[in-house]
């Protein structure tokens, strides 16, 4: 008897070839593996930290040593900090012209399409290679509006130094969990963005994080402040070539959305499958502010990723749209958190996850509505699609509603790809593989259309979908 399972025509594995090209490691400077006070002091010295930052790092290290590795999520026992190099400086200073970036690094970003996208559709670009930002530039007209977009190191000592000090790791604290503490101790690189009141940045800014060295950690810090009534779309991309040793990503993203402001934060994460992606993201949203998250998680060996929004001001809002694609050997634990801390706040979490070929995908959400958040509304919807019987999908929603005056909705669907739908498409001449790809593409479509154009294209390439848009 024939069956769909027997014919081996799965959805294609994500085509990673372009991401997997490795550069020969030719670092300008590398610290020893592992984590000691000496290493942290050394990183701080090399980076010319202000004194407060040196103290901050050492305090974070102390906290790190007192905290345990979390055990409530996917297994982290394959991650041994003694084997991780926390700081690798590429052989270049930060440049404002791609021509000044060393060829082998520039070629990497060229292959990823970053300089090209910068010309066509971005207001500014930051590019980090291992531990340091190698390129940062913002269009003149955007800078003329007073928008600041720079690497974190420059921000620490520049015009906005006080603002940085006031906000740095105040939303995400080293004591939150072990990897935030680690981040506090060894962070390097990342971007600082400040959008002045009322300024509407029409086209997005983008930072791209590339980790090239094997056994390395990347700990970039992103701090964005969108002032009153302003608007920004920020895009974050990440990738790395595949190695046989564990790499670690423990970045921090802190977002401040001031009164009446709106921030859209899009991420396409495509780390290689030896990466532990233990990233933390948090936004604080003031009165009438809007926070929009768009998140695509495709890569990494193991992910813990739950961007959090604190709806601090009355009538503030957040929307989270996410997609996770877990393939062979991947355990991706993703979701979102929200705290409603003021009246009439609204949140909407909508996620899709796809697991195939033994991949594990877990959706975790946490929604809290505090007693004072009267008249608030929240809705969560998560849909999972398992492409075969070896793959797993779980949903773990947590709700803590402390007022009766709130509107709470939750919807979860876990399903398999429908044989009847495959048959229907095949009866119109599509091969089984194309039929499956089309169904998976259709499943992901509501998320894909939220992604920035070039990333929607990238996502299609990633999932290798020969589907909508590719025709005609």
């Amino acid at each position: 008897m024939r069956s769909f399972e027997e014919e081996k025509t799965d959805i294609a594995e994500i085509d990673r070839s372009v991401y997997d090209i490795k550069d020969k490691v030719d670092a300008g400077y590398t610290v020893q593996n592992g984590l000691t006070r000496e290493i942290v002091e050394e990183i701080s010295r090399t980076k010319n930290d202000p004194e407060w930052m040196r103290e901050f790092r050492l305090k974070a290290l102390e906290i790190y040593n007192g905290l345990d590795v979390p055990t409530w999520g996917p297994d982290l026992s394959g991650l041994n900090m003694e084997d991780i190099t926390t700081y690798i400086r590429p052989k270049t200073d930060m440049q404002m012209d791609w021509d000044d970036v060393p060829d082998y690094i520039k070629n990497t970003f060229d292959r990823l399409g970053i300089p090209e996208a910068e010309k066509s559709s971005l207001a500014g670009v930051g590019a980090q290679y291992d531990s340091e930002v190698v390129y940062h530039n913002v269009r003149e007209e955007v800078a003329a509006q007073g928008v600041v977009y720079t690497d974190m190191e420059s921000a620490l000592t520049g015009e906005y130094a006080d603002m940085v000090k006031e906000h740095f790791m105040k939303l995400l604290k080293p004591g939150d969990h072990k990897f935030n503490a680690l981040h506090g101790a060894v962070w390097s690189g990342g971007s600082f963005v400040y959008v002045p009141p009322g300024v509407h940045v029409d086209i997005p800014l983008q930072s791209y994080f590339r980790l090239n060295a094997p056994g390395a950690g990347q700990f970039e810090h992103t701090l964005i402040i969108v002032d009153k009534g302003a608007y920004l779309h920020f895009i974050e991309g990440c990738s790395a070539p595949k190695y046989n040793v564990a790499n670690l990503h423990a970045g921090c993203v802190e977002l401040y959305v001031q009164e009446g402001a709106r921030l859209r934060y899009s991420t396409i994460e495509n780390w290689s499958k030896n990466m532990y992606n233990l990233n933390s993201k948090r936004a604080m949203v003031q009165k009438d502010g809007i926070m929009e998250w768009v998140s695509g998680s495709f890569g990494s060996h193991t992910s813990y990723l739950y961007p959090m929004s604190i709806l601090k001001g009355e009538n503030s809002r957040m929307e989270f749209t996410g997609i996770t694609f877990a393939g062979n050997g991947q355990n991706l634990d993703t979701g979102a958190k929200v705290v409603h801390a003021a009246p009439n706040t609204k949140s909407h979490i909508s996620t899709k996850s796809i697991s195939r070929d033994g991949g594990v995908s877990t959706f975790r959400s946490s929604v809290s509505i505090l007693p004072q958040a009267k008249g608030s509304k929240t809705a969560t919807s998560c849909e999972s699609l398992m492409l075969d019987s070896r793959s797993r999908s779980d949903t773990i929603p947590v709700m803590d509603i402390q007022t009766d005056d709130a509107d709470v909705g939750h919807e979860a669907k876990i399903g398999r790809i429908s044989n009847e739908a495959i048959f229907y498409l095949m009866s119109r001449g599509l091969s089984e593989e194309d039929a499956k790809a089309m169904i998976v593409g259709g499943f992901a479509e509501p998320i894909a259309k939220e992604l920035p154009m070039e990333y929607a294209v990238e996502m299609n390439n990633l999932i290798h979908l020969e589907m909508i848009g590719s025709i005609g």
């Binding site: 024939r2 229907y424 095949m426 001449g429 091969s431 479509e445 005609g472």
Partner: protein, 248 residues
């Protein structure tokens, strides 16, 4: 002498261990319109699914030959490419794929050549208009939120666009109001010519009003028990299957 299009001989099919078709024979030639009537559970839809090669329908014996080629073990998409089409009794709803993209993909798949996009759109718009399908439906996801009648019209639209050699209509008229049956029936008439063939599974004579029916088969308990001309449709719609049995 008409050339043979579909030859089914001694076909035995089971679903989940239940024998449904028990030695069915049927020959359809180019240019012909065949009608299959039969009580519920006789195996009518099983016949349709078997001709398309649904993997849950296991062929235990006999063969299906299309244009002289044994397709009994062919995959569903290969059969579609050879020119067999099924208008589903309950078309699937599939999210995230617009009808127009689906139609383009299907058209490319069955014709195996690049699609003349402008011509395609013009043709699609014209056929949608003829079938009284709201133009907005082209941008809607496959059958999602369509009424029963709209789904059936969308099936006929696909048939007209893909222009198969053999179209099997499985209860295409069920659940439709009088006007919708008329529209669908005209669509089917537009499709039909001397080079293709129709196999209509129905229990409603109205869809046949506009069509020249060559053969009417009675399918009962997995076999074709009687074959006659159009007059059999009229007899059964007037008197029912029981009357037919009593007549014998």
């Amino acid at each position: 002498m008409k050339s043979g299009l579909l030859n089914i001989s001694d076909l035995k099919v089971s679903v989940e261990g239940n024998n449904i078709l028990k030695g069915l024979n049927l020959t359809i030639n180019k240019g012909e319109t065949h009608v299959i009537l039969g009580p519920n559970g006789a195996g009518k839809s099983t016949l349709a699914y078997s001709v398309l090669g649904h993997p849950d329908y296991q062929v235990d014996g006999g063969k299906i030959v299309f244009e002289g080629e044994d397709i009994t073990d062919e995959s569903t998409d290969k059969r579609a490419k050879k020119g067999i089409f099924l208008s589903f009794q309950n078309p699937e709803e599939i999210n995230g794929i617009t009808m127009v993209n689906f139609l383009k993909t299907a058209k490319k798949a069955v014709s195996d050549k690049p699609l003349p996009v402008l011509k395609f759109h013009k043709e699609m718009n014209q056929k949608m208009d003829a079938l009284s399908i709201n133009p907005d439906y082209a941008e809607r996801y496959i059958n999602v939120g369509f009424s029963g009648g709209e789904k059936k019209k969308a099936e006929i639209l696909q048939m007209l666009m893909l222009n198969p050699k053999l179209a099997i209509l499985d209860e295409t008229d069920s659940g439709l109001d009088v006007d919708a049956v008329k529209i669908v029936s005209l669509g089917v008439k537009e499709y039909k010519n001397e080079e293709n063939a129709l196999l209509i599974i129905t229990h409603n004579a109205r869809i046949l009003d506009e069509l020249d029916v060559d053969y009417v088969h009675i399918l009962e308990n997995g076999k074709i028990v009687r074959t006659a001309g159009r007059e059999l449709v009229d007899f059964i719609s007037k008197n029912g299957f029981t009357a037919l049995e009593n007549q014998e």
